[in-house]
Amino acid sequence: MSVYSTSQFKNGLKILLDGDPYSIVENQEVKPGKGQAFNRVKIRNLKTGRVIEKTFKSNEKVDAADVMDTEMQYLYSDGEFYHFMDPNSYEQYEASTTAVGDAAKWLKEEDICMVTLWNGVPLTIEPPNFVELVITETDPGVRGDTSGGGSKPATLETGAVVNVPLFVPEGEVIKVDTRTGEYVSRVKK
């Protein structure tokens, strides 16, 4: 297993602690005038998303986590696993519902997602920042009312529910920002 010295610490570096993979969010080197230096880091647990603080002696060695971010195409879900494909190698990967988490409600077949692999297994899935999805259910639109003001819930083909302006009808394709879960615009076909 490869190791990092604290002098290699930088944001985004993936390390292994107590068996869990972490990503460095913030790294601060503190050095008293004539003494031992320390690295104070904020690290995100890639399994739980929790951010914790740790302190290491400078030049201490820390195990590297075999974690890689790869863009992959979402293929389908078989109810138990979500299947992804690396478009370069055509290799397919199964992601558990835990790994997919909240991303599930944005996943549309053929969309390109960011898959984080840990020891070759999908650890987390990030949907594209913007997705285009069909409204499968919403209250009838108020035709001609494009003045804004007022919104209604709309269910999308993937099951996600977003608030849309009153004038947007069922069957319409809309663009949604998956980071905020907010409606962006209608998509003209």
Binding site: S7, Q28, E29, V30, K31, P32, G33, K34, G35, Q36, A37, F38, R40, E53, K54, T55, F56, K57, N59, E60
Partner: protein
């Protein structure tokens, strides 16, 4: 990348910093001229090393054909002591120094130390002179004087961390470090104190709520003596002080160790620590040891980070803001 390099050719601080720095140096010279302390210039390159386990030297080609490697100084201290033993009186130097691998908002690998030595000064005398210098410089920069508190290392630890560094058990010390979020490899006692100081006490000092802006901290544990004499009244402490400005360490001073035998023992112990930490051992400065053997007059000396001082005087918090040229574009 090349585009980045092109963008960063400029001096990146306001040009007024150049004038402020020149003014600072002029004021420092005025301060010492009034006290008849002589400005000296000593070599940057030396055959000998600094054995301090936490300081790394830059190494370069030998000074003379039949010599081993030369080193860039990490402080002018050894030459200053050789001058003092040669009979030079009170002296100071505005000295460029070099420490490999140091790069944080408060550390550059190349920086400037204002270092000075005063014959027949004890620790308290020199502590007062540091404060006098800082207050005079504040006045010159049209800033109000700062309040300064004097605390022993023991008092500071008792106040902030609630433990006595001279009597706390190893277990209680370990537990306290864990409680403050330390989770790395085992720490020696000295390292544990360094951790509590750097990660608990300094942030508290920087916050500026509980302490005055200036802090004179004195009587460190003897294990942190470096080149300071042990305290004859409390042999587990040493005659070393630091001056901190809102938690930023500005100056580090000693009532100097004048005992050549003791100094050699410390150098050898340092090299042993370096070996244990997988670091290169360094050739002892035999010239310094010979000078101590000949006789170093009773004196105290202190080194003050000039760029840090300028940063504090200007109310800034990152060395990059006052140096204009930074390691990344040097």
């Amino acid at each position: 990348m090349s585009k980045n390099k092109r963008a960063h050719w400029r001096f990146s601080s306001p040009l007024s910093v150049l004038q402020q720095r020149a003014f600072l140096c002029a004021e420092i010279r005025r301060f010492f001229a009034a006290r008849q302390v002589l400005e000296v210039t000593t070599p940057v390159l030396s055959h000998h090393g600094n054995t301090d386990v936490h300081i790394e030297m830059f190494q370069t080609q030998a000074l003379l054909p039949d010599h081993n490697a030369a080193y860039l100084r990490t402080s002018p201290e050894f030459f200053h002591k050789r001058l003092l033993a040669s009979g030079a009186g009170d002296l100071f130097e505005i000295a460029r120094v070099f420490r490999r691998g140091e790069r944080t908002p408060l550390h550059h690998p190349e920086f400037t130390l204002l270092e000075w030595y005063r014959l027949d000064f004890n620790l308290a005398d020199l502590m007062q002179e540091v404060v006098a210098l800082v207050q005079q410089l504040l006045a010159a920069f049209v800033q109000p004087a700062i309040k300064v508190t004097t605390l022993s290392y023991q008092e500071l630890f008792q106040t902030v961390v609630g433990l006595d560094p001279f009597s706390v058990s190893d277990q209680a010390l370990h537990d306290r470090c864990q409680a403050h979020g330390y989770s790395g490899a085992a720490l020696s006692r000295t390292e544990a104190f360094d951790f509590l100081f750097a990660c608990v006490i300094q942030p508290e000092l920087s916050a500026g709520q509980r302490f005055t802006d200036g802090l004179l901290l004195h009587r460190f544990p003897v294990a942190m003596a470096a080149l300071a004499a042990a305290d004859p009244e409390q042999p587990d402490r040493c005659l070393r002080f630091e001056f901190l400005w809102r938690g930023v360490e500005l100056a580090n001073g000693y009532q100097e160790l004048t005992d050549a035998v003791e100094q050699r023992a410390r150098f050898v112990a340092d090299n042993r620590l370096r070996q244990a930490a997988d670091k290169a051992q360094l050739p002892l400065d035999e010239h310094l040891l010979a000078a101590l053997d000949h006789g170093l007059p009773a004196c105290s000396g202190v080194a003050l980070g000039l760029e840090r001082l300028l940063m504090c005087l200007l109310g800034l918090d990152d060395l990059d803001q006052v140096t204009g040229f930074i390691p990344e574009n040097s």
